[in-house]
């Protein structure tokens, strides 16, 4: 059974260092994935979270291991922030038998129940109604778990968002809805496809507390997440968090972001959240250069080991084609 851990409403040194470590893990893993794909050693779609790394760690650092996380195809940040082991993640990217889904799901469907990552969907908005079911089960069992479901700004325009938030509010479900608003629905700007100024404005339609926060600011993001998690865990029902951010890479690999004006991209990169976070830690005396360098060195070693493990893992056996379609093997 999940028990409430006492996380402070504002992050102190320990919390900021924890969040930063996860942020750096996401950034470095993403960069390595893109490098390995370019090298031709792994063939997979990849939806880079570069530029959006701060949101998921700020939330997940305040979750218990058995809390549920639901995410989407751009989900690497959620997988890593919630603790999916690097080796099984990399082996899944490589389509190997040792992957978290035995090579049968791929990056768009990473699943690792031990880390609480129970659903990764490739369909925009579809994680939202599923999160309600997970949270309803927790409510019925009284297991104290909460569910965090992640999606982008584009998902707020699909019907599942409306149906899901309405039901979550009606049933006071222990869910936190985290919308990473990177201001682009694939190639189209937020303004062109969204009738409200802020996605948090939509919370009023469901009598749901909703907030817009700078998702690239780890302190603001921590506080917003803390309030939402506390509300969910104490029976106060769901919260909608709109976390403002920006996507530095294309929608997917091969997309050069040609539809984003150069000056807009340059201004966003000028405010890259990762160096900004590093400066915050150094300026605030939360860590030294040497300590932060050591974090990166450790991640680099872990990545070397994980990539090596993945690329040297066996391919799935053809017999897997008949397994996991149903509980019993069939002749597919």
């Amino acid at each position: 059974m999940s028990t409430q851990q006492n996380f402070p409403a504002e992050p102190g040194t320990a919390e900021l260092r924890d969040v930063y470590s996860r942020v750096m893990l996401i950034k470095m893993t993403d960069e390595r994935i893109r490098r390995v794909i370019r090298s031709g050693r792994i063939a997979t779609p990849h939806y880079s979270p570069r530029g959006q790394e701060v949101i998921a760690p700020s939330v997940c650092a305040q979750l218990n291991p058995d809390d549920y996380v639901v995410t989407i195809y751009r989900g690497l940040q959620d997988h890593l922030a919630k603790g999916v082991p690097l080796k099984s993640l990399w082996a899944e990217y490589a389509g190997r038998a040792t992957g978290s889904c035995k090579g049968k799901g791929g990056p768009m469907h990473i699943t690792h129940p031990a880390a609480g990552v129970v659903v990764t969907t490739g369909i925009v908005g579809s994680g939202i109604p599923i999160a309600n079911g997970l949270a309803w089960a927790s409510q019925l069992k009284g297991d104290g778990r909460i569910t965090v479901t992640n999606f982008g700004d584009g998902a707020s325009n699909i019907g599942a968002f409306h149906e899901g938030l309405n039901l979550a509010s009606l049933w006071k479900l222990p869910v936190v809805f985290v919308c990473s608003n990177n201001t682009y629905s694939e190639h189209t700007t937020y303004e062109k496809v969204t009738a409200v100024k802020r996605i948090s404005d939509r919370g009023a339609s469901y009598s749901m507390p909703a907030v817009t926060v700078d998702g690239n600011d780890p302190i603001a993001m921590w506080k917003a997440a803390h309030e939402a998690i506390t509300r969910a865990r104490s029976g106060g029902g769901p919260t909608l968090i709109e976390a403002m951010t920006f996507r530095f890479e294309g929608h997917t690999n091969g997309d050069d972001s040609h539809y984003i004006p150069a000056d807009v991209m340059a201004a966003a990169k000028e405010k890259d959240p990762v160096p900004r976070f590093r400066k915050l830690l150094l300026d605030g005396g939360h860590a030294t250069e040497a300590e932060l360098d050591a974090i990166e060195a450790k991640i680099k070693d872990d990545l070397d080991e994980a990539v090596d493990y993945a690329l040297n893992s066996p391919w799935p056996d053809a017999a897997e084609l008949n397994r996991d379609i149903y509980d019993e093997e069939i002749e597919a």
Partner: protein, 334 residues
């Protein structure tokens, strides 16, 4: 007790069978949940009263009326199932499944596979449909071929009250997502009441009539007409075997092949549109496995390739008829 009462079991209708199964399942297993539009007692216990009394007996935490939100209903079923519950979601009418297809097809059906078996989705979707009641093009479709064509789902279509109960209990206990398709007419057609605890395994056909000249393979409501035709032709000396599939996925192919092996003649009868229907798959499988034993081409009866019409004058000719089944049997008899 009279001799007649001893030999003739009590009669119940489909609605009662469903209600009995849900009562038994909820009593036996606290993880069984029932939800959908109007299913709780304050809302009438379901539009046909299939869920009557459940919320009063088991509480509104386990039996919930939902908004008219099929995506939210199906998604909640998927999530609750992953989290270890046994949700029985009601999608009031089968055409409304189209609204929830993403959750059913992209998620419920595939999550076990895509997670490499790390998670599973033991949900049941109950849904009602069937032509013959002048409900028109969006309230009567038989869409089982869509679902059968989606690996990962089980698809169940009973033909009588005992099977309604026995198959629903098996669906609830099954560890895979099951779509349980109820027929509007059959829900009010009486049949023998099954004993308490009666279960029918998924994937096992029944043979309500045993014969040696022709096999009728069917499921759902047309099974009743297949039986009537078999009884009528028996008087003429034509021996008709009726195979009631009961489950479309998994399909009891062994039962079909055994019967066709015996008779050498087969007519497939279903309510759904004939072209590209389940009957086409059955015919293809018979062709693959029983070709040398066939004495006549496989016959196939299904609805016309059109939406379900409203007018009763059109609707009666849109779907199968007993006369059509009889004619098809005579045709394969040569």
């Amino acid at each position: 007790m009279s001799a007649e009462a001893e030999t003739k079991p009590a009669q119940i209708i489909g609605v009662q069978a469903i209600n009995m199964a849900l009562m038994e399942a909820m009593e036996a297993d606290p993880t069984v949940l029932v939800f959908g539009e109007d299913v709780a007692d304050p809302e009438g216990g379901g539009v046909l009263k299939c869920t009557d009394g459940l919320s009063t007996r088991f509480g509104d935490h386990r039996v919930r009326s939902t908004p008219i939100s099929e995506q939210a209903i199906m998604g909640a079923a998927v999530g609750a199932a992953i989290a270890g519950m046994r949700p029985v979601a009601e999608i009031m009418l089968m055409n409304f499944i189209s609204v929830a297809m993403d959750q059913l097809v992209n998620h419920a059906a595939k999550i076990r596979y895509m997670s490499g078996g790390a998670t599973s989705v033991p949900l049941v979707v109950r849904t009602l449909t069937g032509a013959g009641m002048s409900l028109g093009g969006q309230h009567s479709d038989m869409l089982e071929a869509w679902l059968a064509h989606t690996p990962g789902l089980k698809v169940v279509i009973p033909s009588n009250p005992a099977d309604y109960k026995g198959l629903l209990l098996s669906c609830i206990e099954d560890d895979n997502p099951c779509v349980f398709i109820e027929n509007s007419t059959l829900m009010y057609t009486p049949g023998d009441a099954p004993p308490p605890g009666y279960k029918v395994p998924l994937g096992k056909a029944s043979t309500p009539r045993v014969g040696s000249d022709v096999t009728l393979v069917s499921y759902g409501r047309p099974v009743l007409d297949c039986i009537a035709v078999a009884d009528k032709l028996a008087a003429e000396g034509i021996s008709v075997e009726v195979v009631d599939l009961r489950t479309i996925v998994p399909m009891d192919e062994a039962a079909i092949f055994a019967s066709v092996g015996k008779t050498g003649r087969v007519v497939i009868v279903h309510e759904a549109v004939k072209r590209f229907g389940v009957g086409a798959e059955i015919a293809a499988r018979i062709n693959e496995e029983c070709h040398g034993q066939l004495k006549a081409p496989v016959g196939r009866i299904g609805a016309k390739y059109s939406p379900v019409p409203f007018s009763s004058a059109l609707e009666k000719d849109y779907i199968w008829t007993a006369a059509g089944i009889e004619a098809a049997v005579r045709k394969v008899m040569g």
